[in-house]
Amino acid sequence: MSLVYSEEQQLLADTAAEFLMAKSPVAAQRKLRDAGVAEGFDAALWREMVDMGWSAIPFPEAVGGLAFGCKGLGAVFEQIGRNLSASPLLSSVVLGGGVIELAGSAAQQAEWMAALIAGEKRIALALDEQPRHDPAAVALTATRDGEDYVLNGAKAFVADGIGADAFVVAARTGGLAGERAGISLFLVPAGAPGLQVSAMKTLDARNHANLVLQDVRLAAATLLGVEGEGFQALDAALDRGRVCLAAELLGATQSLFDATVEYLKTRVQFDVPIGSFQALQHRAAWCFAQLQLARSTVMAGLAALDDPALDAAARARMASLAKWKAGEVAHRISREAVQMHGGMGVTDELDVGLYLKRIRVAQASLGDGDFHVQRFGELSPQ
């Protein structure tokens, strides 16, 4: 399990860095926000990302992927984080595509994988119901009625839900909320009668949606995998998403930290650069050290996703470690960044606030720090 990018992966990272800096700098995210684009991303940019092959990176060749591995994808997400670039790569490819790859039948894969990889269709994962992420807490019901299932309940905080062609909806067909058994996964088309999708405008100006499902009737063929046994594939896809999001957080934090160090060198007060004050130097040095630790956990998380020798629990444990550490460090550094920029740090003019907001959202998505500490503990041999 290697904790450094290979030459090929580094090459991909460099290409992504160049591309995003040219086509999708932070200024472009600001424009999207100000224009109030409902989808939260630039469709033309997404097309170019697809053309570069990013949406094919993690999938096996059998379903039309490049089989380049999650570590390569992580290298891309790090660059995405640096530029705060918005795209459905996480929602539709890593999470949506991940669930279909892991749980879908041959027919479902044939119907969806090529279209997802080609960027012709988008899928969003509708999972959370409570304010805090907890996949086992699913309560939305799916009841069997003859050959069909009928779904009732609500979903919140569905990333890239506005404009999605379909949703992977986690529903309960048995057991109680809080139990892993009894969760089933359904592919629900956006136009399904009884499904309402509304915008949830989040502070990072990305696309999030609330879903209400009222007697949504689905054919049994929309069930992904075995009834009541959806949790395992769901959690495995979530782990890919968690580590990719950790890589995005790492990239965002690195950029923000670099900008802050630069500010410490140039902002003058009391006739000296503020970076000469030891009180700030020590805090900046600690941020640097923490960032190094976060990077190691993200690399380990990415490597774990690609390592077939690991068992599921060991892989999940690494994923939780990466998401926890990257989130904690991002949180700490974003707070320091605002403080060290003084009054300028709380203005909308600087990019600092854009990073702070995106980091807050990403940190809460797919499990916050408390969630992942508990999960790591549960997965640890005692």
Partner: protein, 404 residues
């Protein structure tokens, strides 16, 4: 000419054949072997492993063979280290001389000094201690006052060193002395090596908060040191001291790679002392969360050590990474023992006697001992100064000096 892969094969075979299986296990406390005039072995396998590695010249694998080293190239040395890690071989001995003084003598010593000092060091026959710090010269090491006055063919040394690890058990000391009392402070310092059995030297162990310790205050009362025991130029010692401290940090981070197992495994201790999750109060659950978070941070550190090794082997610049290792590790250890002390409750408050288990008493000592780690070898604040200035290149401030 054998290729590197041949070397790897030979080395692996040699280690398999010569490293006793008991020397491939995690090292318990107190089983470190210290080289020196008298070497103590706890059992026969330790002796075998020590002697076999010594005879290969592999106490100092990359020193030239003419000075008792193994004569390996950098690449071969990296292979040897990797193979030792692979087999989990314990270090055959610990010797400050080899890690810190040796490389400085190789670089700055005269031919006579190399021949006199290095071969016995390489055979593990001399135990060395470091006489740098003084009561009034800690972080600000360059303000040291122990004087060495030239008197014909020797120096006369007077003053005192403090915190000298194993000052009472060592055979020789390398020390910084002031040889010019009027020059600017960095420019009046020299490096001497001194036989600890010289008349006028007295070493007094210091009691620490954790109890009896291996640290000493060493007093020098008109100690005569032959002139040829001056290493490097007169008044040129500061450069050597800085080089030596770099070797110290490198050695410490390499030593960390051996990952001496601590006996205080967070998760298993929490499992033993905290009530089962089903019987836990909210406070127990909160404490268990802190234990998990601490274990995660420990893992983040060991992954970082692994990453540093990989990046170095990929020939990337790891000086930034290296600069955080001591800081992070020592601060984490301190935090870890606080969490463990919380987990043990009053079982962590014992000092001695039958009312406590041996492991509980050891944990209490380790908690107290952890306080020293963020001070010794350059305090955490000094490490942060170094990161701020050398890695982040933040501007020098009027009020903040970097420190040792």
């Amino acid at each position: 000419m054998s290729t590197l892969e041949d070397f790897r094969r030979e080395t692996r075979a040699w280690l398999e054949a010569n490293c006793p299986p008991s020397m491939r296990t995690a090292m318990p406390d107190g089983e470190l072997v210290w080289g020196g005039r008298t070497v103590e072995f706890k059992h026969e396998d330790q002796r075998l492993w020590f002697e076999r590695m010594r005879d290969k010249g592999w106490f100092c694998p990359d020193w030239p063979a003419e000075y008792g080293g193994g004569g390996l190239t950098q690449e071969q040395n990296a292979v040897l280290e990797a193979e030792m890690r692979r087999l989990h071989c314990r270090p055959p001995q610990i010797n400050l001389g080899i890690w810190m003084l040796g490389p400085v003598v190789l670089e700055f010593g005269t031919e006579e000094q190399k021949r006199a000092l290095l071969p016995p060091m390489a055979r593990g026959e001399v135990r060395w201690c470091q006489g740098f710090s003084e009561p009034n010269a800690g972080s600000d090491l360059a303000s040291l006052k122990t004087s060495a006055v030239e008197a014909g063919d020797h120096f006369v040394v007077n003053g005192t060193k403090i915190w000298t690890s194993y000052g009472d058990k060592s055979d020789w000391m390398y020390m910084l002395v002031r040889t010019d009392p009027v020059a600017p402070k960095q420019q009046g310092i020299s490096l001497l090596v001194v036989d600890m059995s010289s008349p006028g030297i007295q070493a007094q162990p210091i009691d620490l908060i954790s109890g009896k310790s291996s640290f000493c205050q060493v007093f020098f009362d008109n100690v005569q040191v032959p002139r040829h025991q001056l290493i490097g130029p007169l008044n040129g010692g500061w450069t050597l001291a800085k080089a030596l401290l770099q070797h110290e940090r490198r050695a410490m981070s390499k030593f960390g790679e051996f990952a001496l197992p601590t006996h205080f495994d967070l998760l298993s201790i929490a499992g033993k002392y905290l009530p089962a999750p089903s019987a836990s109060s909210p406070a127990d659950i909160a404490l268990r969360q802190r234990v998990f978070a601490m274990a995660m941070d420990e893992m983040a550190y060991s992954l970082t050590a692994q990453r540093m090794g990989e990046e170095a082997r990929a020939r990337r610049n790891v000086s930034g990474l290296m600069s955080i290792m001591k800081l992070v590790h020592s601060e984490q250890e301190k935090d870890k023992f606080e969490v463990l002390a919380d987990v043990l409750g009053h079982r962590a408050l014992g000092w001695e006697g039958e009312a406590f288990e041996a492991q509980e008493l050891a944990l209490t000592k380790a908690w107290l001992g952890s306080f020293a780690q963020t001070i010794a070898g350059g305090s955490s604040e000094v490490q942060l100064n170094v990161i701020a200035k050398r890695v982040l290149v933040l501007p020098e401030g009027g009020a903040s000096k970097q420190g040792k």
